[in-house]
């Protein structure tokens, strides 16, 4: 026989859980609802592939999709080798005291606000890129990707280190007893076994890269044309939302940002379920 208090509390807990999960859906619903007029008129698919030229009545978000893809993928290309190397350093290659300090430093780095990366990027990296390449204003895909890459490296490094730590002890003992040096153990036993974990880390990092707003907003130049090279400016889906928010509520321009939101949300769904599948598969193996 449960007391009233018990039942109320349980009900309250359950309702909280329900509310939290429903919000996740509500977010998508709101965006679809707000963006519907434009999506219906233009056709959602059309919006994805058409360019953005509001004065000509074109509200396609294709250039932003390309911008997001370029900056995120390039950022990932910068971050992956750095993260892999740093994770090697922390788990195996650096002497214990160095590795401890280094890991602490990386943990601290994960706390640095995005806006500060953007701020320093504007005043330090943008002029540098401008001088180095003598081409453009310095605000381009490359600058944004470099800063983005540095920004997501700490999280990815820690994720990789955790993946390495989950290798079954029996493999490590076997390798040790056979006379493997620490580096050999890392390269020939740990790394192959951690493949799924590494992939998981990359996918999660990609999700973060795509979802970033400030670095792209502050450093990539925000042009509405499809970038032809890494030295050209670009606009991401996220930056687009931030820039157009000031437009008139009812205009189709404005409604286009909800298409961006929907695309981003759907991308998040794909990334999340892919990552869940991978970690489920990895756990099943162990």
């Amino acid at each position: 026989m449960k007391k009233i208090g018990e039942r109320v509390a349980e009900r309250a807990f359950f309702l909280s859980a329900l509310a939290s999960s429903l919000i996740t859906v509500a977010i998508l619903v709101f965006m679809v609802f707000m963006g519907l007029p434009l999506m219906r008129e233009g056709g959602f698919y059309q919006l994805l592939v058409k360019p953005w030229a509001p004065y000509q009545g074109a509200f396609g978000i294709y250039p932003m999709i390309v911008g997001t893809a370029c900056i995120s993928l390039l950022g990932l290309a910068v971050a992956f080798p750095l993260s892999l190397g740093c994770s090697f350093l922390i788990t195996t290659i650096a002497p214990k005291p160095v590795s401890r300090v280094f890991r602490r430093l990386i943990e601290l780095m994960t706390g640095i606000p995005t806006v500060i990366y953007g701020f320093v990027g504007i005043f330090l990296l943008v002029p540098f890129v401008r001088e180095l390449f003598q081409d453009g204003s310095g605000m381009c895909v490359l600058t944004a990707a470099l800063v983005l890459g540095i920004m997501i490296t700490p999280t990815m490094t820690l994720f990789f280190c955790d993946s390495f730590a989950r290798i079954p002890r029996s493999y490590l003992d076997a390798a040790d007893a056979l006379g493997a040096s620490p580096v050999q153990k890392l390269l020939y036993v740990i790394l192959p076994s951690a493949r799924k974990g590494l992939l998981n880390g990359v996918i999660l990092a990609l999700g973060r890269a795509v979802g970033d707003t400030l670095v792209a907003l502050m450093l990539a130049g925000n042009s509405v044309r499809v970038p032809e090279s890494v030295l050209e400016p670009a606009r991401t889906l996220t930056a687009h939302i931030a820039l157009v928010i000031a437009a008139d509520y009812e205009s189709p321009e404005f409604r286009s940002i909800f298409s961006c939101g929907v695309v981003l949300y759907l991308f998040t769904l794909v990334v999340t379920f892919l990552a869940r599948y991978l970690s489920f598969a990895e756990n099943k193996k162990a």
Binding site: Y171, D173, D176, A177, G179, S181
Partner: protein
Amino acid sequence: MSQSQTMTEAIKIRVENLFFSYRNRLILKDVNVNFAENAITALTGPSGVGKSTFLMTLNRLWENVSDADMSGAVEIKLQGRFRDVYAPAMPVTELRKMVAMVFQAPNPLPMSIHKNIAFPLKLAGERNRKLIEHKVEHALRMANLWDEVKDRLNDDARSLSGGQQQRLCIARALTLEPEVLLLDEPTSSLDQASMAAIEELLVGLKDRLTILLVSHYLEQVSRISDHIVTFDDSTVVS
């Protein structure tokens, strides 16, 4: 069942004044013992007394564990000379290629049978494919496993039965032709038939190696061992 070495047998391993502690608890106290060459010596004693730990002092595997500390001397006759196992001049990776170990639970690496056996060669930097294949076959034959797996060398090693996996681990340990083989209760997770197979295997190997075997099975000990070293109260009593 002799309980001491005869004076005419050569000595392979010398241990003097060995103390071992873990987290400030003394596990091994003043161990002094010699092991004969080309013989099977069984290490017996109550559970938890430190026999497995003792084995690990011979190939320095305990050094991966933090809070562990050891003092004393361990000398093993390798390549004809007695070498101090803990000397700075003795790289631990080289030591383990000459003093091999097989664990209680078989621990095949997550790769094919062939790759498992070839793994030590890969560590040693061997690239000659013919030589590798030859050595893999040789090791598998020494472990009495060749006939059973010769047609499926590319199968995942974990698909083998427990007894076969353990023989795989022994074969893998033999690839680089070590001089000493340490076995920590190698048959305790196996069935009777597999146990017998491994015992037969070890007897066949003793001409070429010195074998130390931790075992709880007294009949096994009496069946195959030439010498017995008994541990009790953190030290060797006979």
